[in-house]
Amino acid sequence: MSNHNPILNIKSVSKDFGAVSALSNVDLQVHAGEVVALVGDNGAGKSTLVKILAGVHQASSGAIEFQGKSESLATPRAALKLGIATVFQDLALCENLDVVSNIFLGQELKPFQLDEVSMEVKAWTLLNELSARIPNVRSVVASLSGGQRQTVAIARSLLLDPKIIILDEPTAALGVAQTAEVLNLIERVRDRGLGIIMVSHNMEDVRAVADRIVVLRLGKNNGIFTSKSSNQELVGAITGASENVVTKREKRLKNQSNSTREK
């Protein structure tokens, strides 16, 4: 596949909330089969950008090109229809419904005589493609673990054959093993040729799967890194200085460990 033309091309998008400009002239490109991590401190504008892409908010200025065409993303439905699926941080699953009902919620086959068998088959197919470990698609979501719920949410976002999936803090609430499963899942989705935008605070997870790491700071682009970039560079870009609390602490720890090693 050619990676020259991005699926999603955000060109100098700005978003103002009254006098506050949450985003100013932000650029972002996502290619097919690429994981782009969006990192930044609190208030950097990550969530605002995600919401603009999900169609929840509209950009004040700038252009969003999707597959070469300029799009407006006026509503969540419009974004979904275009092929931008968003998995929100709280997943938005109905705990009292089973896995199949959750995956197909709002997209049921045959509204007046639900086609349970076809829905179940499609659900299994999606989950198997993700090599998901869901024991039974007829068990209610309340009985699933955090990682399994994340899987269901991602499977649901894949239902409409999106081109881009946005994951908002996919590993924030998960344990070590479950985090690894979700990261595997992200790689499998990438291997299917989808573009992925992953918002995360966890540098380790970001480094593990991201092809590019886009740093936002105070609503502006503050550098693009790869997983090979050093932690210091990344943290520097996120906090806006190479000399700050975090780097000082690291320097101190490093010195300590050096000094203990010398002993």
Partner: protein, 419 residues
């Protein structure tokens, strides 16, 4: 590569049986084990109500043998139909975690509309009935809009509706306060006399089995075609046979008396219709989703406001229909219609039958089971010549017990990781 290996494994075993960590019990023994496992984790279903019903019937039949006579049971079914229809509407609003406290008054208005339009003004009966139901729909739409636009808790809006509708009922009935329906009219016969002929009642008893086997076989062959575990044909036939034997027994016993009332048949038809709507249509799925997690449903593209309005409309319309049936049962539209314990009985029936007050869980059959319990208590106490004071106290206690069971089962489900 990945999908290929998946295909290979799925051809070896059905799609939903590829995970070895899950116990799949397809045989009869496994089904029983599953059943007890569910009970232990707090997924009680309709078990408490069936046990309760057996206890109640045993006690009353010991105290007065007339209770279990087929004559009395036919009367019980006549009486159950009215509040049963109202309870069916309550199931809808409870599914969303809302409540409608005005169903009693709404049914009173429904019966008053029949009296005024049909008897006093001479309008054709179908038009009077349709007017009553439509007025219910309008009231329901009003409740729904108040909830959606102003965020008014349904508890408050329907409580004020209770009083306002009662006023409307009294106003319509005028100074006399009561309008008699003509005896001998089909309307009154329907509420007091008309029963299904014996041969037809046996035919009706066979319908569920036919439907179960037809749908079951179709689903089995479709699941086989789609490479899912098909389920057992033997179980299907066992289930159908058991249901048919039970229903034929009931019909035989009822036919020893007057037989199956048409009014109760209407109620059963509505229950079946509602069950289909709640379990087999997108609307029903949305109802459950909104009741479980309204925000998640909204983000999934469900129009939550529309679903809320639809629930209130269905509830109030069924309440008005219940009022129409009450008028035909009592042969009058009076100030007493829909007052007293009608309201609470309808809500109690839905909750006792197993619909949760907390939203997201429930079934149309809970209205049927619940109203049989409530009506049995009321009927049994009347047979014992106890005054309505005792009836109120005991019904109140039963409702409290039902809600306690609901709350406890909910906590147990939460601790066992069930919804």
């Amino acid at each position: 590569m990945l999908t290929k290996s998946n295909n290979e494994s799925s051809q070896a075993s059905p799609l939903d049986r590829s995970d070895s960590r899950v116990n799949h019990s397809d045989d009869f023994k496994g089904m029983i084990a599953n059943f007890f496992g569910r009970i232990k984790s707090g997924d009680l279903g309709s078990l408490p109500v069936i046990i309760g019903l057996i206890v109640i019937w045993t006690v009353f039949s010991i105290m007065n043998p007339v209770f279990l006579s087929s004559r009395n049971l036919v009367n019980l079914l006549f009486d159950s139909s009215i509040v049963g229809v109202i309870a069916l509407g309550i199931v809808c609003v409870l599914m969303l975690g809302e409540i409608d406290l005005s169903v009693g008054s709404m049914s009173g208005v429904g019966s008053a509309i029949i009296g005024v339009l049909w008897v006093n003004m001479g309008a054709p009966l179908p038009i009077a009935i349709i007017t009553a139901i439509i007025s219910g729909a309008i009231v329901g739409a009003l409740y729904g809009s108040l909830r959606n636009r102003l965020g008014m808790p349904s508890f408050v809006s329907t409580l004020s509706g209770l009083l306002a509708l009662l006023g409307l009922q009294l106003y319509m009935l005028g100074r006399t306060g009561s309008i008699n329906l003509p005896y001998g009219s089909s309307m009154v016969n329907f509420g007091q006399l008309m029963v299904v002929p014996a041969w037809l009642s046996y035919c009706i008893a066979i319908i569920p089995a036919v439907v179960i086997i037809f749908n079951g076989l179709r689903s089995i062959s479709k699941r086989q075609r789609m490479n899912l575990s098909p389920g057992s044909k033997k179980l299907l036939f066992i289930k159908a046979t058991l249901i048919t034997i039970t229903l034929l027994g009931i019909m035989y016993y009822l036919n020893l008396g007057r037989g199956l009332p048409w009014m109760f048949t209407l109620f059963i038809c509505l229950v079946v219709l509602m069950d289909y709507a709640l379990t087999r249509t997108q609307w029903g799925r949305f109802m459950k989703a909104v009741g479980g997690n309204a925000e998640a449903a909204r983000r999934a593209g469900v129009n939550v406001k529309k679903i809320t309005i639809s629930a209130f409309v269905v509830c109030s319309s069924l309440a008005a229909l219940g009022g129409v049936m009450a008028a035909s049962r009592l042969a009058s539209a009076s100030q007493q219609a829909g007052t007293g314990d009608v309201n609470l009985n309808a809500i109690a029936a839905a909750v006792i039958g197993g619909t949760s007050l907390f939203g997201g869980r429930g079934s149309a059959y809970s209205a049927l089971l619940g109203i049989i319990v409530i009506q049995s208590i009321s009927n049994g106490l009347t047979l014992l010549n106890l005054s309505s004071s005792f009836r109120f106290m005991i019904t109140g206690a039963v409702l409290a017990i039902a809600v306690i069971i609901d709350s406890l089962a909910r906590q147990s489900r939460a601790s066992h990781g069930q919804a």
